[in-house]
Amino acid sequence: MTVGFFTDTTVCIGCKACEVACKQWNQLPDDGFSFTGMSYDNTVQLGASTWRHVAFIERPPTGDDGAGDKFSWLMMSDVCKHCETSACLEACPTGSIIRTEFDSVFVQPDICNGCGYCVSACPFGVIDRREDDGRAWKCTLCYDRLGADMTPACAQACPTESIVFGELSSLHERAASRVEALHASGHTEAYLYGVDQSGTDGLHAFFLLTDEPEVYNLPSAPVAYSKTNGRAWRSMVAAGVAMAVAAVVSARR
């Protein structure tokens, strides 16, 4: 069964229960105690020890005298996307990163040798090596909980159903009707990120957003290695053919 997360940012209240529940269940260490001055975000980004991260985006009002959009504060709980075509998995030379029976992407810590290829491969900057042990870590989609038929810790803790866990196609349906409802109530800016995405073939953790992806620190067109490999090979073949043609042509002269 393919499962995943639908994260609806329009009902996120930024409580960070997902961050804390994730750290508690997975017994992750803190990321240090430093004040960033970046709104209410002091964990900054996803990393080896932060597998859920809530971004806070303060958007100033536009236009003068309330003519444009009012001030708004966007909150979004980010997580590993568990891509359909997964760059980290493709990059992993040891076979540590595997696709599970839930179609999630899982790093086996006892196999990971800390080469770090996955870190540079991930188009979202999700996976990261932990400084003290060198290995790569990221969201497991609570693989250990799924095996016991439990909801992942973050979705279980979310008080407003901003994070919904479930079977992917039903999540797609739920998300589509949510977008429809938002459009009907005048919020035409709402859209889904990661459902149809050629560079990854779709994300198993996808999002409902109300602004450009870059506003949430998401790439607008993420691409997995294998997608560009084909193009690279094609380019190389084309170049070879072109050179051969050129050689033949020049030889005839």
Binding site: T10, D30, F33, F35, P61, P159, T160
Partner: protein, 789 residues
């Protein structure tokens, strides 16, 4: 609410998903504002002007629910001729003895605790149902708030007229027969020198709109801890006994007879007062309590004055208090004026602190070498390590089961108090002194369970629920309590929570069956008789909740009716009726002597029968409404170590400060600053300032700033944000921008993350009704850089 009650806020989000409009009125744009339909930033300390403006809008635009107002409020009651309003006396009321209905009999002094006396208000004479009599409450109310116009609200609160009117129309459009609106508030409304009157203003709005006692209506107090409601019901308050029985006062309540006659109402539900008092004394003193000795009433201490928190701490600092128990609180960080709090602790002989961690209150002596206080620290068990109940803001008791035994020396509060009591009794066992009788006669023999001899919480619950003395069988409800010593009950409003010996608070059913137990009598909505019209029919099909069934001749519906179940709507008490027979069939507010909701409070509020806008103790502007600048009855502490700023326009302290909590931390930090997963989320004390204030004072985002009051200075990291905008206040040439500084108050000198505490800045000054401090609106200065050391 999303900031401090994210779990409860899920229901707000669910209402919003169903089409509810969510309005947030707060100086800051918070996580609540982020999902609200409308956020209205206002000047901290201007809430009564804002709410009073809504009252004025409702009355002048004729938007009130007239049938509800006429039938279920005291709008029609005619006031005495010598009552003079703040409109007559420029911000003062006439003497409290004039705050009475024309029929009125004696008005009692209600400085301390609850008043159950309706002032002989059941007489039902002197009413004008047309609401036109110039001295009826309705007309007095109209005059009182007539100057709270949208323009005045705008210039006082710093809001735009258009957003204020948007709030008014949204609220009125969503109230009436078919619709209801609810208010949710927390200490942002209460921690003011006018705290009680802010809530009173909200109550007036809700009564005028017919939003009390009806589904989807109400005024919901969001509490600061998991069971603060419970600690008010079975109180930790100095002036209350369990179930809102007043603590006896020296001079007034010296004998059992005077206590009973002072507090038993002539009409309404508080006619039952003697039953609850005698049952409480039977629960506490058992067989020692007999009719001949007035049920051991003289064992109770008598109040000799205001022994609320600030008075006690001031007395401590002056060497008048020798010992102090601090349990589940961290006053050095969480209470006002940290320096004075520490000075008070340092003047004690001994201090007992029970908490999870070595909080600042247990560690304060490390920074005061001269301190000779002997400090005892007892580690506390967490909620997962003990059985018990929580009572939430909805009066819902929910049981939690112990998951693990507390490790090491950790113990529950119940264990601590019970075993302390046993040891004290052992020390006094041989005493023949009469002064030691209360301790020795106390019923103090709960069964114990487990490896630590933990008292059996179900035995405690049974005592709270009440039982018949002869056979020890739990009573089904407080209606079974008697004043002849045949019943014992530790807290009458909780009666029924252990009916039939079943722990009702542990009920957990997702199938629609009752969940937990809601006091009183498992009612989910108080005063729900008001959800039906005077003749007992629902106001509308959409809002049907509790109604009169004429066939069965009973009240019925979706909840336990908050009324005498077989009393028909047509019932009218005879003139010589006594007890519960005084409650008319069309008067839903059964706890009030006159059975109606009070727009005008003839008794029970010290600082006036109607709310009036006064500026905070320390303000940035003069009162735009009256020459009376501040609440004339506020409590001040005139001490050298408690200096105040000028009432307004103090050049040294030109900005408004407000304090608050963040989602990531819990109050004074005892439950969050020691946990890395929470501490890393908000690791440092910071101040929130607008870009324009940052520019004016040279503050840089992420750098340090020092915030100062006459009490002290604290340093904080700077967070520059448009979420705390400057507001335009005043009119004409006096119109100007007011800057507000936001300070979360979670940090202290101990824990994984440390910093100065915002509460160091706050003075000792209080509301006169409940002695709550004013920490939500004061003045201060802010400068770049760290504080001097």
């Amino acid at each position: 609410m999303a900031e401090c009650h994210p779990v409860g806020f899920q229901w707000v989000m669910e209402a919003k998903a169903r089409g509810a409009t969510l309005i947030h009125v707060d100086p800051r744009f918070t996580r609540t504002s982020a999902v609200a339909d409308l956020h209205v930033p206002l000047r901290a300390g201007s809430d009564i002007a804002f709410l009073g403006g809504i009252v004025n809008y409702i009355l002048s635009e004729e938007r009130y629910f007239r049938e509800y107002v006429v039938a279920y409020t005291n709008a029609s009651s005619i006031l005495r001729e010598d009552f003079q309003d703040t409109e007559d006396l420029d911000g003062l009321f006439s003497d409290p003895s004039t705050w009475l209905y024309e029929s009125g009999s004696g008005n009692d002094d209600t400085r301390d605790g609850e008043s159950h006396e309706g002032g002989g208000l059941h007489e039902d004479a002197y009413r004008d149902p047309t609401l036109t009599h110039p001295r009826c409450v309705f007309q007095v109310l109209r005059r009182h708030f007539s100057r709270y116009t949208p323009a005045l609200v705008a210039e006082t609160c710093g809001v735009s007229e258009s957003s204020f009117l948007a709030v008014c129309s949204a609220l009125c459009d969503n109230s009436g027969r078919d619709r209801t609106s609810a208010f949710c508030y927390a200490v942002g409304w209460t921690q003011h020198t006018v705290g009680v009157q802010v809530i009173r203003t909200a109550a007036i709005v809700q009564l005028l709109l017919g939003n009390i006692g009806r589904p989807g209506g109400g005024i919901l107090a969001l509490r600061g801890h998991a069971t603060i409601q419970g600690s008010t019901d079975v109180p930790t308050l100095y002036n209350l006994l369990p179930g809102y029985l007043p603590m006896p006062k020296a001079g007034d309540d010296d004998t059992f007879g005077s206590y009973i006659s002072n507090h038993t109402a002539a009409s309404g539900w508080w006619t039952q007062f003697p039953k609850y008092t005698v049952s409480l004394l039977k629960a506490w003193f058992g067989s020692a309590a007999q009719a001949e000795n007035d049920w051991c009433y003289n064992y109770l201490p008598l109040l000799t004055g205001d022994h609320s928190h600030m008075n006690t701490v001031a007395d401590m600092a002056d060497g008048k208090v020798r010992g102090y128990f601090v349990m589940g609180e961290n006053p050095v960080v969480g209470s006002m004026h940290g320096r004075l709090q520490r000075a008070a602790l340092a003047s004690l002989d001994w201090l007992v602190v029970r908490d999870f961690a070595l909080i600042e209150t247990a560690e304060f002596w490390r920074s005061s070498p001269a301190c000779e206080t002997e400090v005892f620290f007892f580690p506390a068990a967490a909620h997962t390590e003990k059985d018990g109940t929580y009572t939430n803001t909805q009066r819902l008791l929910q049981f939690h089961h112990k998951a693990v035994e507390p490790a090491g020396d950790r113990r529950s509060e119940l264990w601590f108090m019970y075993h302390l009591g046993l040891r004290l009794r052992a020390l006094y066992a041989g005493s023949s002194l009469s002064r030691d009788r209360p301790l020795l006669d106390l019923t103090w023999s709960y069964g114990t369970v487990g490896p630590h001899d933990e008292p059996d919480v179900l035995e405690v619950l049974k005592e709270i629920n009440g039982f018949t003395v002869a056979d020890g069988v739990p009573v089904p409800s407080f209606t079974a309590l008697a004043d002849d010593g045949s019943t014992a009950c530790g807290c009458w409003i909780y009666s029924g929570s252990f009916a039939d010996g079943v722990n009702m608070t542990a009920r957990r059913s997702a199938s629609g069956a009752p969940w937990g137990f809601a006091w009183p009598a498992d009612r989910r909505l108080l005063y729900n008789r008001a959800s039906a019209d005077p003749s007992g029919r629902p106001w509308s099909e959409r809002k049907a909740y509790v109604w009169w069934d004429p066939v069965a001749s009973r009240w019925t519906g979706h909840d336990v009716p908050d009324f005498i179940v077989d009393r028909p709507p047509s019932y009218r008490p005879a003139s010589d009726a006594v007890g519960l027979d005084t409650i008319a069939g069309d008067k839903p507010f059964i706890m009030q002597g006159d059975g109606v909701g009070w727009l005008f409070a003839p008794t029970g509020v010290v600082d006036g029968p109607l709310p009036t806008h006064y500026e905070p103790q320390e303000s940035v502007m003069s009162n735009p409404l009256y020459s009376q600048q501040r609440n004339p009855t506020r409590l001040e502490w005139s001490r050298d170590d408690n200096p105040y700023h000028r009432p307004f326009d103090d050049p040294d302290y030109p900005f408004v400060v407000t304090t608050y909590r963040l989602t990531e931390h819990h109050t004074a930090g005892g439950m969050s600053r020691w946990l890395p997963w929470l501490a890393e989320l908000q690791p440092e004390f910071f101040c929130e300032v607008s870009p324009s204030l940052a520019l004016e004072r040279g503050l840089a985002n992420g750098e340090w700033a020092t915030i100062s009051t006459a009490r002290t200075s604290v340093e904080a990291r700077v967070l520059v944000t448009s979420r705390i905008p400057p507001l335009m206040v005043g009119r004409g040439r006096r119109r100007r921008a007011v800057h507000q500084i936001g300070l979360p108050y979670h940090w202290g000198s101990s824990g994984l993350v440390r910093g100065d505490s915002a509460n160091e800045l706050i003075s000792f000054v209080a509301d006169p009704n409940v002695s709550i401090q004013e920490s939500k609106a004061l003045t201060a200065d802010i400068r770049p850089g760290r504080r001097a050391r």
